[in-house]
Amino acid sequence: MKLSSIIAAGLAVGLSFSATAGTLEDVKKRGTLSCGVSTGLAGFSQKDEKGAWSGLDVDVCRAVAAAVLGDADKVQYKPLTAKERFTALQSGEIDVLSRNTTWTHTRDTSLGLNFAGVNYYDGQGFMVSKKLGVKSALELDGASACIQAGTTTELNMADYFRANGMKYTAVTFDTSDQTRQGFESGRCDVLTSDQSQLYAIRIGLKDPSSAVVLPEVISKEPLGPVVRQGDDAWFNIVKWSMAALVEAEFLGVTSANADKMKAEGKPGQKRLLGSEGDAGEKLGLSADWAYNIVKQVGNYGESFERNVGQDSPLKIARGLNAQWNQGGILYSPPVR
């Protein structure tokens, strides 16, 4: 009796472990999307006084929720540190990870994860105190560097200093906030992170003008949303939600003109917005999946300017993150 119940319990544990396929059904049944974001990074995922999340990474969560559930607000945000993020996704605690995560070979091939696109092309840089008078990263021999633990930044830093025959002391912290505190208290001379984060962290300093970002960019950091491997239907949904944001901007569809375009736009615009073709159906979603995204979240350009661009305190230029025909490298596959 006892034994059989133990075996039954063992089987139950074993079975529950394998019941993970069908993320789309899970999300629909739950009625909310569980999305992993950062613990707080200005412009990418931040929480206001009322507890509402906003940011470029948050907008990806919102876009997926809009596409799947028809409501961009039906997202449950799970703030994760860099160290926790992959385990949270692997274990099924979250459905999508949208947390300024760099797409690397190791992560894509050995962690059981798939990268569903790129929502920000970044590169690692350095921020130093103005008082040091340092003009280039090559003058940093012997410096102490504040780094966030468990990131590609840690590895790039080691590579860069080794390649240039320089020494440094790595002071690693768990959260972006702690690295800022470390930098401010003088625990380290230089704070290294992705450039976008440097601007965000710099704004959080007591005196932002006391720090400068050095010109060197020492790595490629394509940041994007991540899903579990092995659920291709879900992978497609996240990939195309991401692509729809970019495609909408390319086609000139905005949250303001979405209704008009849906009714009387060009064929490409109509196909995206679901008044022509069956793009939504092929994804297992409703016909107005992309319309919901654009209407509720905006296109990529709107999201960019609102969160990190000219309408935000960060004032980051589009740079690499402009459309391919505007001097950037954003290029969405066509929706047809």
Binding site: I7, G14, S18, L111, A158, V171
Partner: protein
């Protein structure tokens, strides 16, 4: 009826094997064991199968690949070109270091505060009470933050370092002090230091025996101190001081040369010491209170001085209560040292479960290895403390 002979009482033989309660018990044990083994086998094989199905790598092969990241502090040689196995070692040694320092300091603080509770001095007694009640009741994580972000972060930046005679510097990056560098002949001095310890050991034995036999006391403490300082000092002079000091100097960014204690280590060790010290103080107080007052009165009646009463009568008996409590405090301290991750002290948890896990994604293997290490460390502490406990336990007639 009454004439019939009583049936003889005999052990039941029917079927025999399964009716024997001992055999039955053994069978149940074996079945339970098999069931448990099957249970864990199912979990492990299921996890492995699922990980493989989802394309997650498993196994310990990652240990031999290059780590590629640097670590703030290491007791052995380490840089980014070393392997993940080495990061494990670096983290392990850092954990042992902070635990060791914490245990020693917490024990000293705990005994002083615990004994102070019984002081005739009003102020000392109050301080002891306030200390225990304050630090025992504040969460350790808060205390770690307090020491790191409130106290040590408030130290001056490098160029304004607090300077002690151009040899010792204190700033927000830690405490810098001269490093003692060995020169040829230094081994002789270390040897003499070892010799001094051996000599003290035998001196104590001799003095003890002499007191037993003749009742005469010998100034053991002062003589020991003399040997401990004198012998190495004499060899130091004979060998012509085979050491030199490497002084820290202010460099471009940091202070170079010398050696230093990083603020993360200071903050963590301080927090662990202060927190665990409060608990040990309570253990000491409990131990001393457990010794009946009659013992003190008896000691006074034979004319022992107050200090000697504490030393010879009270503390040895109190140890019986204190030592088992100390054991669990030490184990808690080791486990609490994982709070290092909150301030970035590179202990095993921060380096291995933090960075290494994140860079490799080998969660199960790494978490398992780390759990095994903390288990092993605490078992060792338990073993040592149990041996120590036996030595202070009441010796009963055999």
């Amino acid at each position: 009826m009454s004439n019939e002979p009583m049936p003889e009482l005999q052990p039941v033989k029917s079927g025999s094997f399964f009716n024997n309660p001992r055999n039955r018990a053994a069978i149940y044990q074996i079945l339970l064991l098999l069931g448990l083994m099957f249970f864990f086998y199912t979990i492990v094989s299921n996890a492995l199968a699922n990980m493989e199905a989802r394309g997650i790598k498993s196994g310990f092969g990652f240990l031999t690949t290059t780590a590629g990241f640097d670590i703030l502090m290491s007791l052995v040689e380490y840089d980014a070109t070393h392997t993940y196995a080495k990061t494990f070692l670096v983290g392990l040694l850092n954990t042992i270091l902070v635990s060791f320092v914490g245990i020693i300091l917490a024990t000293i603080v705990g005994f002083i505060v615990g004994v102070s509770y019984f002081s005739q001095n009003w102020l000392l007694k109050r301080i002891s009470i306030v200390y225990v009640e304050t630090f025992r009741n504040i969460p350790l994580l808060l205390q770690v933050f307090f020491w790191y972000f409130a106290v040590l972060s408030a130290l001056p930046i490098v160029r304004d370092s607090i300077n002690f005679g151009d040899a010792v510097f204190l700033n927000v990056r830690g405490l810098y002090y001269p490093e003692v560098v060995d020169e040829p002949g230094s081994a002789v001095v270390y040897g003499s230091l070892f010799l001094a310890f051996v000599a003290i050991f035998f001196l104590r034995r001799w003095a003890h025996k002499r007191q037993d036999e003749t009742g005469e006391q010998f100034p053991v403490f002062l003589t020991s101190l003399g040997i401990l300082i004198g012998l190495p000092l004499v060899t130091l002079l004979i060998m012509g001081n085979p050491f030199h000091l490497d002084y820290p100097e202010k460099g471009g960014f940091n202070i170079s040369g010398g050696t230093n204690v990083i603020p993360e280590l200071m903050a963590l060790a301080l927090a662990l010491t202060v927190y665990t010290g409060a608990f040990i103080a309570e253990a000491v107080r409990a131990g001393i209170q457990a010794v009946p007052h009659g013992q003190t009165e008896a000691a006074r009646s034979i004319g022992l001085r107050e200090k000697r009463i504490m030393q010879l009568i009270i503390v040895p008996q109190a140890m019986r209560v204190i030592v088992p409590l100390l054991n669990s405090e030490y184990q808690s301290l080791v486990k609490n040292s994982t709070l290092a991750t909150a301030i970035g002290y590179p202990d095993l948890f921060t380096v291995f479960v933090g960075t290494s896990l994140n860079q490799t994604g080998q969660a199960i293997e790494i978490v398992f290895m780390t759990m095994a290490v903390y288990f092993a460390i605490n078992m060792m502490i338990s073993f040592c403390m149990n041996r120590f406990n036996e030595s202070v336990a009441l010796v009963e007639r055999k």
